[in-house]
Amino acid sequence: MTEERPGVETDAYNFAYLDEQTKRMIRRAILKGVAIPGYQVPFASREMPMPYGWGTGGVQVTAACLTPEDRLKVIDQGADDTTNAVSIRKFFERTAGVETTEHTTEATVIQTRHRIPETPMTEDQILVYQVPIPEPLRFLEPRETETRKMHGLEEYGLMHVKLYEDIARHGEIATAYAYPVKVEGRYVMDPSPIPKFDNPRLESPALQLFGAGREQRIYAVPPYSKVVSLDFEDHPFDPSKADHPCALCGAENTYLDEVIMDDAGGRMFVCSDTDYCATRQAEGHRGAQSAPFTEAAE
């Protein structure tokens, strides 16, 4: 990977920042993760030039997956233009020199924080999640030795205790993000803090990789894996969302952000996936509060 590339300071950085041995180590962890869907593979996470919580795990997984031919998209809460997304995109532009894009359909590798893009993924894409806490049982059982044993022996009753507590306290399963799932009928997995609205789309043709930098874990959901959200027979899983259409593009079936407009109760709901929303608007879809089409065209 030492060929000269225009605009890349090859002397300063190895391709995609990490050295080849590190990338090899991460790829081995990824392969193991793919072989055992949902299983948390420990790996020797490196210090990255960004703080923990900014996606150091995702960045390392992305770095290990990138090839010079890849086209990278980075989203944070669905948006391409937030600090986290912009800085990680810039990071790989500088250290790998790969093309970047904001369009889901054009990307081959998508690093994401807290969302799955609305546009359906394809078999040619890799989705990399940034994971803060990979252990779904952590808040119920703080001992890592014990939670590992529980995963090993498939003792997942405790996960339902959490859901039971939700119903007892709130009348319904109030867990709205990081909703636990069972992968391929075996491992219970934290899908990272994506809204539970996205859970059904974890069954995807794309390869999904999860990287937790601080916790030093990598796990994976291979394409077309069976992913079931946990629930009770009398309280089935409900991938809920705000009951509004998008105010900008009018989409009825997307996950929405609530935007506070003033201090008098004014608010609007817009797609959290900015690329999906912008694409729809370019196609002529209009929501209740979008700019009139004629003015925009002038």
């Binding site: 119920l140 003792e155 009753g157 039971y164 119903i167 007892a168 309280h235």
Partner: protein, 260 residues
């Protein structure tokens, strides 16, 4: 009781040492279905070590613990695989800790605590789990409107009763109790003992109770083992041992009880 078929638990030559020190050694006994056995002795006599060995919390250095499993009959729990042993721990066995906080999840409501074992063995219907939890809270005399309170909001006696409900909800056949009444005041103790005696008789439980309180074993236990320095120095029917102690240490123990 006419001759019971097979013992529920057979303990053979259990030994556990901590380096050169003896935890417990040469322990042998049979426990029959519906029988309650008491283990008494002073602090450091090895009774808790023995209980932890029996319940699978500690690995003994030598010996056999044969449990009459529902599926396969008598089986050495020490030779079982870990998943099997943990499954037993969730279904046929129960362990009541001295300190209720060790046996409860303090961050989870009373109903969740009782329901955990049900969910651990596959219950997935919220309504049924909750119904059973409330039923069990009622059986240990905890009001239904406390079902969503966390154990931290309960008194010591209530916590202990909650722990018992949590353990008995899956209908175990063998209960291990480590000083179940320790740290409770006498009136609460009396109520708890009353409750325990009722549940043990009603459900036909077998139990092994470790305690240093002779009054507790007099009330609950059919048979008694007295331990000293890791050895069982005397064993027999509870009333027989307490009324006519043979071993010097047992005589000392019985005569040490304070009279009111």
């Amino acid at each position: 009781m006419s001759t019971p078929a097979t013992p529920l638990l057979q303990v053979r030559d259990i030994r556990k040492t901590y380096g050169a020190r003896i935890g417990c050694t040469d322990v042998n006994f049979d426990l029959y279905p519906g029988e309650v056995i008491g283990i008494v002795g002073e602090s450091g006599s090895g009774k808790s070590t023995l209980l932890n060995c029996l319940a699978g919390h500690l690995a003994p250095d030598a010996g056999e613990i044969l449990f009459n499993t529902r599926a396969d009959g008598l089986k050495d729990t020490l030779k079982m695989s870990e998943p099997e042993r943990r499954m037993l721990g969730r279904t046929d066995w129960a362990f009541v800790h001295q300190n209720a906080r060790d046996g409860l999840r303090m961050g989870v409501s009373a109903g969740g605590n009782v329901g955990e074992r049900l969910m651990a063995v596959g219950a997935r219907h919220y309504g049924n789990i909750r119904e059973q939890a409330i039923d069990w809270l009622d059986r240990v005399e905890i009001a239904e409107d406390r079902v969503d309170d966390r154990p931290g909001a309960f008194s010591g006696g209530m916590q202990q009763r909650l722990q018992i409900a949590r353990n008995l909800v899956t209908g175990p056949r063998l209960v291990f109790m480590d000083e179940p009444t320790g740290g409770l005041d006498v009136s609460v103790q009396a109520r708890l003992l009353d409750l325990l005696r009722g549940l043990v008789r009603e459900m036909g439980l077998s139990a092994i109770i470790v305690t240093h309180d002779l009054a507790v074993v007099r009330l609950l236990a059919d048979r008694l083992m007295v331990m000293k320095s890791g050895h069982v120095v005397e064993a027999g029917l509870t009333d027989q041992v307490l009324d006519d102690p043979q071993h010097g240490y047992t005589q000392l123990l019985v005569s040490s009880v304070l009279q009111v």
